[in-house]
């Protein structure tokens, strides 16, 4: 690729995004690959070649629906692009034969999130049906009913009825989506079948009583390109994702103006602490010492969190672009990606992005002829959780033992190799190009008063659709768990949501309507953290949950300072005693006392926040702790289920099913 110029970028910006149809996009991120996406990719290539089709089979990143991996997006003339989930290699030939060759959808794989559409402009070609209720699956029955009804009316050749995998609506009975318009009906009953066929398919009228009017609360800013572009292609990023237009916008301004734009946007650090990004940049910029450095913190380590990995794997150029803008704003010529070695795919793709950018003249001396020089390197983390803490991260890059050091001096004053350094999380940086491109005010239009923009969460645990979710700040936890992710697995009752990873806390059912923001979560005794969100149902023991997270912190403590090193270990001993029914009444007081010492006297965030899972479970579920101490684990579980309002009989039945 020949070096780009500012004019080239301007020309790209002026050009409308090319509309692409006729493709197969296989989502090849680590999650997808683990589920067999590479085999799927090969199978598609083979099937397309065997069928002598010209449809390109493309590699893209993941849009986050990990629960459905491998995920494939298929576009063929006449239909909007359709997502297929659970596409193992053997499904690929079926999709090629049905979708590409005869315009038919295959059963049980289609993911078609409800769009909230309320008009039927074109004739219905496909009808998707899915039972989302709690009872016995009725999907096949309804598919049969629709097919029969269509036959009766002589429409069987014009409309295909397919069983869907996911329609973005949960716990709303039988759900039916009409394509291509995307009109979704919920709680469809048997008598509605004839109405739908007659009025909506034949008459193109929308049935208001069945219509699903809610729209998906998700807003994709960070994940804007994830799953839609090839993460290994710079042209794809440039031509189809406004690539490096944010950088162009930044270079057209002074660094101070760039920082001001960030200030207007209200962007706060997405690594967990929520420090205003503009202030971090400004604090680094005002240092007299040179050279300065920027670091992208990709040492994501919270159990169950995979936001950063996904972004690095699916859209590496946008993180690099963010890093370059940060470099420009603070006056740094050197950047580092600190990525944990457990993310080889992310490392590979960032490495490739760096060499592509270098080749295109986007890294190096005098970038785009603007006089701005910048280059970046990758440094691998060896897997210590604490290296996500910025001073430990710096020590690690410098080749030292990854232990935190006292702040001040903050890295913005004395950071890497003693130079002023700004360290930003992957997600923070991925926001930056969009902010520069569309303006801080646009970004500040999302979110709440104190917490602007969107946040990516990795929702896992006892949830139906474990996946990445990007929602505006201020969305409630309940909306995230139930509306976006489909609610609790096996339709059990929700007990709590754990946010913030091992530094966070549990938020009980009664507080799930709290809008998500840095401050609100803190008030509830948890934190935003980097965005891990673990759903727990009534069978989950809160003592075990506290023990799990504390164990993580005890294992990951660097051992430098006494409160964290010994306090965490001693708390774990106590929790272990309690969970085995060997606890004593005074153990709770001892726990609280050690928690206080750890919170107040630990040197870094790891130690200061490690007691949070214990404190928040004590805060909301102290009865459960007492039950453990008084009667042991079995008694405690029984009491917990009773307390959460689950009927004892049903709880028993659940327990039996679990046993079986």
């Amino acid at each position: 690729m020949k070096p780009l110029t500012l004019d080239d970028l301007a020309a790209l910006a002026a050009r409308p995004n090319p509309v692409t149809t006729d493709f197969v996009r296989v989502q090849l991120d680590t999650g997808g690959i683990a589920a067999g996406a590479e085999e799927t990719f090969a199978a598609f290539r083979a099937a397309v070649a065997a069928a002598a089709l010209s449809t390109p089979v493309l590699r893209v990143g993941s849009h986050g629906r990990s629960w459905a991996d491998p995920v494939v997006e298929v576009s063929a003339a006449g239909l909007p692009p359709v997502l297929y989930g659970g596409v193992k290699a053997d499904v690929a030939p079926q999709i090629v034969a049905a979708h590409l060759q005869s315009g038919r959808l295959i059963d049980d794989h289609v993911i078609a999130p409800a769009s909230g559409a309320a008009e039927l402009a074109a004739s219905v070609t496909h009808l998707l049906v899915l039972d989302t209720g709690v009872g016995e699956a009725k999907t096949k029955f309804f598919q049969f009913s629709f097919v029969e009804e269509l036959k009766r009316r002589g429409l069987a050749d014009q409309v295909q009825v397919a069983r869907a995998l996911d329609l973005g609506v949960y716990d709303e009975g039988v759900v039916v989506t009409l394509l291509p318009a995307g009109v979704t009906y919920t709680n469809v009953l048997a008598p509605d079948v004839a109405r739908i066929v007659e009025q909506s398919i034949q008459g193109r009228q929308v049935l208001d009583d069945l219509l699903w009017k809610r729209t998906d609360p998700q807003v994709r800013i960070v994940l804007r390109n994830c799953g839609s572009i090839d993460p290994e292609s710079l042209p794809d990023y440039l031509e189809r994702a406004h690539g490096y237009q944010g950088l162009r916008a930044a270079l057209a301004r002074t660094p101070e103006q760039v920082i001001e734009e960030l200030k207007v946007s209200g962007l706060r650090g997405r690594g967990g602490a929520g420090f205003p990004t503009w202030l971090k940049w400004s604090n680094t910029r005002i240092q007299k010492a040179e050279p300065r450095c920027v670091i992208c913190n990709g040492d994501e380590g919270d159990p169950g969190a995979f936001m950063d990995r996904s972004v690095l794997e699916s859209d590496p150029h946008s993180v690099l672009e963010g890093l370059m803008i940060a470099g420009y704003a603070i006056g740094a010529a050197h950047g580092y990606f600190y990525i944990r070695a457990e993310y080889p795919k992310a490392v590979e793709r960032v490495e490739r992005a760096l060499s592509q950018a270098r080749e295109a003249g986007l890294l190096g001396r005098n970038i785009l002829g603007t006089g701005f020089s910048f280059d970046a390197k990758i440094r691998l983390g060896a897997g210590a959780f604490v290296c996500g803490e910025e001073t430990a991260l710096i020590a690690s890059i410098e080749g030292k033992r990854g232990s935190p050091s006292p702040r001040p001096p903050y890295p913005s004053v004395r950071g890497l190799w003693g130079r002023p350094t700004a360290i930003n999380n992957v997600e923070t940086l991925a926001n930056v190009p969009a902010i520069l491109l569309r303006g801080g005010a646009w970004y500040a239009g999302f979110g709440t008063e104190t917490t602007k923009g969107t946040k990516v969460f990795a929702v896992t645990g006892k949830v139906k659709n474990a996946q990445l979710v990007e929602v505006p700040m201020g969305t409630t936890l309940r909306a995230i768990v139930f509306d976006v992710c489909g609610g609790v697995l096996e339709d059990k009752d929700i007990k709590a949501v754990q946010t913030g990873g091992p530094s966070g806390g549990v938020i009980p059912d009664k507080h799930l309507d709290t809008p998500v923001a840095y401050e609100t979560l803190q008030q509830l005794g948890s934190i935003m953290g980097s965005g891990g969100m673990i759903v727990m149902d009534t069978t989950d023991s809160m003592v075990d949950v506290a023990k799990f997270f504390l164990k993580f912190c005890v294992d990951e403590s660097c051992g430098k300072c006494a409160p964290c090193r010994i306090g965490g270990f001693q708390m774990l001993q106590i929790l272990d005693r309690i969970s085995r029914g060997r606890g004593a009444a005074e153990d709770i007081a001892a726990l609280r006392r050690i928690c206080q010492a750890m919170q107040k006297a630990s040197l870094c965030g790891l130690g200061q926040t490690a007691p949070n899972p214990v404190l928040s479970t004590l805060r909301y579920f102290d009865e459960e702790y007492k039950a453990y101490i008084e009667g042991g684990p079995s008694y405690a579980r029984k009491m917990a289920r009773a307390a959460s309002g689950a009927e004892p009989v049903r709880a028993l039945a659940t327990a039996t099913t679990e046993g079986a």
Binding site: E556, G559, P563, R565, F569, Q570, Q573, Q596, K600, A601
Partner: protein, 589 residues
């Protein structure tokens, strides 16, 4: 202190007391000025804060977060509270956590009564084991015979690491593993004796607990003293006379030379000698060597002093390209040992096989030196049998029933007991250089020196350089103390070598410990620069108090050469008083 006054200052309050301190002063130090003591187990005055113990937490303006006083600079307008209810509670819990991870074997510990952890626990009035004890069993490392690492007693404050890595540039100790399993150990989890350790013992002098202690050999000395078949003689190193008093509550720098002579005689030593005497002999040998090289161009320059065994060990391990520059003269300890078993034994008519030479040294590396090479057995026996540190001597004196401070003055025994002022200043950084220059001047010019004091090589700067006029010739000298300061000096010499230029220095003195032997690893606990200065002042005073201030004028030294050795650097002197060095590259196992 006018220099301090001109620095910009900040004003703030600590417990309501207004303090004004130079910008950058930590809250911990600022509090001391307000007569407020903030407890800490990890911050040492010599070292940067490691921020490991968590005891020094304080609060600013009633905020919810606590700050670590050791590493937070006082800022203008701060309102620091150091002892509110929550702070005290947090400190207490943290201390109890530390104690739960400590074996609490105080009664049988080498630091009993002198332990910082013990004394803080007493201050906090800890009366119960509030938290269940968890100490991972780990055998002690006794491999060096000089320093013992009792890993179980380590509180992971990180002082020894900073001392070993930053201050001494030795890099023997490190932290291994993490979390509750974090432990201080020789890097690579090998035996200390196989590590780069040079036995300087600075780790033991800075350790707050009994985790790093000298190898206590007092029992062997008691056994020798009580053995009717043995004749025990003792030597006292230059620096010990101004430090031993600290173990008995006297201020640092108090000169107890004559009480020491009495006390050692009472302990049962047949003869009491002074290492200052052999320091004079060392100077005669070394100054002769220097004049040979400098005036007669016989041998490479710079000449580098070798009387510090930690330094020679360090050189052999890391800077062996300087072997030819090293003075081959043995250290005063070894010279006295060999002379006791040859010259003294002969003159006194004692069978050297029956003679036991005990040395009282400021240093743990001196224990290692006793059998460093075969030259340490030049008398045909082990020249010095047992080496005790100042701390061990203090313990012996306390056990012996001697009321040390009430003793009358005594005298050292001829013929190895008289010393010059030059011998006594061996105990401080710059002292060997100064002593050598006094004698070298005489050897080079044949004239008596008028002004014997060389102020340029005195003081606590890490590296001191000077150009000294010796009979018209300009001698460029460098004095480094604290091994961390050595590499820079040696690098200058290497640079000149590479460029085939004149060496930047003709004579280099190195002492491994900051301050020299008065700051040695075996000295009484609680060393800091203030104490070093006081101890050094004690030695310089002792120098001024001597009628003879140059080694070559010491009458017993003159007699030694006349009656026994012959010429300095002569055949007999070489046989008995000189040694060799071997390159011993690290990690060759």
């Amino acid at each position: 202190m006018s220099a301090v006054a001109t620095l910009p200052t900040v004003k703030a309050t600590i417990n309501g007391i207004v303090v004004e301190v130079p910008v950058g002063t930590s809250i911990l130090d600022a509090a001391r000025r307000a007569a407020v003591k903030i407890p800490t187990l990890c911050k040492h005055k010599d070292l940067l804060p490691t921020a490991a113990c968590g005891l020094c937490v304080v609060r600013n303006k009633g905020g919810p977060r606590l700050l670590r006083a050791c590493c937070t600079p006082l800022e203008a307008g701060m309102e620091i509270a150091t002892h509110d209810n929550e702070i005290v509670e947090v400190r207490r819990s943290t201390l109890e956590l530390i104690l739960s991870n400590h074996p609490a074997e105080c009664l049988t510990c080498g630091r009993n009564g002198e332990c910082e952890l013990q004394s803080i626990a007493a201050d906090f009035n800890i009366r119960t084991d509030g938290i269940k004890r968890h100490v991972k069993e780990q055998p002690a490392d006794c491999s060096t015979g000089s320093i013992i690492l009792e890993f179980e007693k380590c509180i992971k404050c990180g002082r020894c690491l900073q001392v070993c890595q930053e201050m001494q540039d030795v890099w023997a100790l490190s932290f291994l593993e993490r979390g509750i399993n974090t432990r201080m150990a020789p890097a690579g989890d090998i035996a200390l004796a196989e590590s780069p350790c040079v036995k300087c013992g600075q780790c033991s002098a800075h350790c707050p607990t009994g985790a790093i202690v000298e190898n206590d050999e007092t029992a062997a000395v008691w056994a020798a003293l009580h053995d009717r078949d043995k004749i025990c003689v003792v030597q006292v190193a230059p620096s010990v006379r101004v430090t031993v008093g600290e173990a008995f509550g006297l201020p640092p720098g108090t000169n107890l030379t004559k009480k020491l002579y009495s006390a050692l005689r009472r302990l049962g030593f047949h003869a009491v000698f002074d290492t200052n005497f052999s320091a004079d002999v060392t100077i005669v040998e070394e100054a002769t060597e220097f004049v040979q090289r400098f005036v007669h161009q016989r041998g490479p320059l710079p000449l580098i002093t070798s009387c510090c065994p930690a330094w020679t060990d360090f050189m052999e391990k890391k800077h062996w390209d300087f072997i030819d520059n090293f003075s081959t003269a043995k250290s005063p300890q070894q010279m006295l040992g060999v002379l006791a078993k040859t010259y003294y034994a002969q003159q006194a008519g004692i069978d050297p096989a029956k003679l036991v030479v005990v040395s009282i040294m400021p240093c743990t590396a001196k224990k290692y030196e006793l059998s460093r090479t075969e030259e340490m057995f030049a008398s045909g026996f082990k020249d010095v049998d047992i080496c005790l540190t100042t701390r061990e001597l203090a313990r012996m004196l306390k056990q012996s029933g001697i009321d040390f401070l009430a003793l009358d003055d005594g005298a050292a025994d001829s013929i190895l007991g008289t010393y010059s002022g030059a011998g006594t200043i061996f105990g401080t950084t710059g002292g060997v250089m100064e002593a050598a220059l006094r004698t070298a001047h005489h050897y080079a010019t044949g004239q008596k020196l008028g002004q014997v004091e060389f102020a340029a090589v005195r003081g606590l700067d890490g590296v001191k350089t000077a150009v000294i006029d010796v009979g018209g010739a300009k001698v460029r000298v460098a004095v480094a103390h604290g091994l961390g300061h050595v590499s820079a000096v040696l690098e200058q010499v290497r640079q000149a070598r590479r460029e085939d230029k004149e060496p930047p220095y003709h004579f280099i003195e190195v002492m491994a410990c900051p301050g020299g032997c008065i700051g040695g690893g075996g000295q009484p606990y609680g060393v800091d620069n203030e104490r070093r200065r006081q101890r050094i002042a004690g030695l310089y005073q002792d120098d001024r108090d001597q009628a003879v201030r140059c080694s070559h004028e010491n009458p017993e030294v003159v007699r030694l050469y006349r009656d026994f050795l012959g010429q300095p650097n002569g055949t007999k002197a070489h046989e008995l008083l000189h040694t060799r060095y071997t390159a011993r590259p690290l990690y060759k196992r």
